[in-house]
Assembly symmetry: C2
Homo-oligomer: 175 residues x 2
């Protein structure tokens, strides 16, 4: 990720990122949610949260939460995500970088929804902090245009952005 | 709100509810975000969070966050919200109750989007915990159909639900 100064940093994993994104993913039929962090302590934290809800006390207290959090897989890098998908027998996904700032070669969500309708695997990349590092955009197959509200202000949380994108790309919204 | 057993309870105010919903509201041009809780300590907590970002250190650290959190107003009840709106010179809003379970007299988001396009004030009611109390549905002018993903699973966080509803009702999504 980038920090506010534009340096490449590893952002913290937030408990509610896991819950909100997993719950939205489960609702929209997303196959897996990868949490990517190179920080060992953040990986351990994320794994502890997931374990609590998937196999721990939380799974009995709230089975619906288990159904969501079992979609979560934790990896140290994007390469790790692609390797894990391959090991699980998935075809190599097209990668889609998301951003809050308009960029060259951006496609809009309707265009992407059409592409995804073929059923080929797509890996949607969302960042926290001040956004994804430049190298992610360089290597991504597609860059999705920013989610625009009705004004210039555009500072959604990654939880909100993921939820809106799932609804736009996977929802059956106009029926 | 209701708890898992169906009793009427006051749910806790979560820090990220304030941030995520205010940021999404600001992005989509929502005029105000009311946090309603009858619990004095929860009100104080919410006010402290908002003050930190609107007038405290947070407002200098992250002015964009201030622009969002200054939309937040804290009230003890729905009646308090309506009184506050009236005192601020707003016309009486139509109230729209939201739910994760299909109910009678529900309208879909496209129908509601059309009604809202007139510019009349609408007050969207979202619940935490196990949803809004029955009396809210009885008194609401409209009940919005649940957000449906592609499967039966439907357990979005209030943060995700608010973000998706703003995008569906206020977004310029199909352009």
């Amino acid at each position: 990720m980038l920090n506010r100064k534009g340096d490449i940093v590893a952002s913290a994993v937030t408990n509610l990122d896991l819950h909100d994104i997993a719950r939205a993913a489960r609702t929209y039929g997303v196959r897996a949610v990868y949490i990517v962090t190179p920080l060992e302590d953040q990986k351990v934290l994320a794994e502890r949260i997931v374990d609590h809800w998937v196999s721990g006390i939380g799974s009995e207290y709230n089975p619906k939460r288990r159904e969501a959090l079992e979609l979560i897989r934790i990896q140290h890098s994007l390469e790790g995500v692609l390797t894990d998908m391959a090991q699980r027998g998935a075809d190599t996904p097209r990668t889609v970088a998301t951003t809050a700032r308009s960029r060259n070669r951006g496609i809009d969500h309707l265009e992407l929804k059409e592409k995804m309708a073929t059923g080929d695997p797509y890996l949607l990349l969302l960042g926290t902090a001040w956004g994804l590092a430049e190298e992610i955009f360089d290597s991504a197959d597609f860059i999705l245009d920013p989610i625009k509200g009705i004004c210039e202000y555009n500072h959604l949380s990654v939880r909100s952005a993921a939820s809106i994108l799932f609804d736009r790309l996977l929802g059956d919204r106009d029926s």
